[in-house]
């Protein structure tokens, strides 16, 4: 039975799972969850995802949630097909990979998510952004990207010479912040700009942007 991704096509982390499925040449079916009607908060949904969040997957009866965990699962299960080594197996490369993945979750995601919340999510709820908080988030993200600039001046990707999940994890919220919201944080950071251009040009991501 084909892998089912339960979520909404517009949700960034749903798109992340779709992207990794495409990288690994894994067919999938997107099962729509009516997030705008609160379907993800219903008891029926929470049976599968107790936090009431999208996405979760159903892989022939095996249910898993947390998009980054799902991506790791797909990358490992289908290690021998599609883009190789999205999760490296050599112990030293794996350690550097885990460092890179953690960099994304602690030094990128909180700020990119925060900016998205202030500018987009709040707007949907009819609320005004907290300008002081938004300014803080933007300044913090820029400071973090200054460090990315150093790291990516020494190697092509965040975990070394080859692309891994750590790079791909930046795609959905990076696209929102740099492209959809138009924050220019790349122009003064040529190494980050090079890396961003590389990872956003991947056919699998272009396909997801066209239609998740």
């Amino acid at each position: 039975m084909v892998l089912k991704i339960h979520g909404h096509a517009i949700a960034p982390l749903v798109r992340l799972v779709a992207e990794v499925c495409r990288e690994k040449e894994v067919p999938y079916e997107l099962v729509n969850v009516e997030v705008y009607k609160g379907e993800h908060k219903t008891p029926a949904f929470k049976e599968f995802q107790p936090f009431g969040q999208v996405p979760y997957i159903d892989d022939d009866g095996f249910v898993l949630y947390e998009s980054r965990a799902i991506c790791r699962y797909i990358a490992k299960k289908y290690a021998s097909q599609g883009t190789p080594d999205l999760v490296p197996r050599d112990p030293k490369a794996e350690a550097i990979f885990e460092q890179a993945v953690s960099i994304e979750t602690s030094n990128f995601y909180p700020f990119a998510l925060g900016i998205t919340t202030e500018k987009i999510v709040k707007k949907h709820r009819g609320l005004e952004p907290n300008e002081a908080r938004l300014s803080d988030l933007v300044n913090n993200l820029k400071a973090k990207l200054d460090v990315y600039e150093v790291i990516l001046g020494k190697q092509a990707y965040l975990a070394g010479g080859s692309i891994t999940l750590a790079d791909l994890f930046h795609l959905p919220y990076g696209t929102i912040v740099f492209e959809e919201l138009g924050y220019d944080m790349l122009e003064d950071r040529p190494n980050v700009a090079r890396w961003w251009k590389e990872i956003t040009a991947r056919p699998s991501w272009l396909a997801v942007k066209a239609k998740a």
Binding site: K46, P50, F51, G52, F62, L64, Y65, E66, S67, R68, A69, R72, Y73, K76, K77, P91, K92, E94, A95, I96, E98, Q99, V101, S102, I103, T105, S106, N107, P110, K144, V147, V150, I151
Partner: protein, 210 residues
């Protein structure tokens, strides 16, 4: 050469590494970094940890930072000694990754935010943003309701065996409790789980500082 842990004796992320080292019976040398004097922002430090954060390790020349990455590295390298903290079966691994991600997205932002507002901001001359603290508490409360459901079906976050995912909750959980915010006791399964993980010898050994 013994593993070197560069950090701050009471820093949450330094303790996150220390508890794993203890659980795996890995000897280490602790090298204090004077945060209050800004040692973590000095070039000699950022040469190793470019974000200017503690901790990082030097394991015989291998430099690694990000406390959870260090924890994973130690648990994998020393898989055959101390408490097993990483599963090996593919299904169990998937559930471990789900639990590890749950900690970073559905727990850490709220407890670390509360730790900042209710404790750490004051140390740096700031003050509590009461509205933000209240909002974070509300969000944490809702997340722990989900934890209570999960932990009603299994002993630990990834299944019936303890893993790194459980231990990663300890440092910020302890800070939040320490400032008087108890969202654990009122939820029976969360309370049981917290009592279990926080009474382990490894945590007792480091919780007061390295």
């Amino acid at each position: 050469m013994v593993l070197k842990l560069y950090g701050f004796a009471t820093s949450t992320c330094t303790l996150r590494v220390a508890v794993v080292l203890k659980e795996k019976n890995v000897p280490f040398e602790f090298i204090p970094v004077d945060l209050l004097k800004g040692a973590h922002k000095a070039p000699e430090f950022t040469a190793y940890q470019p974000f200017g954060q503690v901790p990082y390790i030097d394991d015989n020349g291998l430099i690694l930072y990000e406390s959870r990455a260090i924890g994973r590295y130690i648990a994998a390298k020393y898989a055959s000694q101390g408490t097993p903290l990483l599963p090996t079966d593919p299904t169990a691994i998937a559930f471990f990754e789900q639990a590890a991600s749950t900690e970073t997205s559905n727990y850490d932002p709220f407890v670390s935010g509360l730790a900042w507002e209710l404790k750490f901001s004051m140390l740096f001359g700031g003050k509590t943003d009461e509205a933000r603290a209240k909002s974070l508490q509300g969000q944490l409360s809702a997340k722990l309701d989900a934890y209570d459901v999960i932990l009603g079906k299994q002993k630990y976050l990834a299944g019936n065996d303890i893993t790194l995912a459980d231990l990663f909750h300890l440092p910020y959980g302890a800070v939040v409790l320490d400032v008087g915010l108890d969202e654990f006791s009122s939820r029976p399964n969360v309370a049981r789980w917290w009592k279990d993980i926080s009474s382990r010898a490894s945590w007792e050994a480091v919780k007061g500082g390295i």
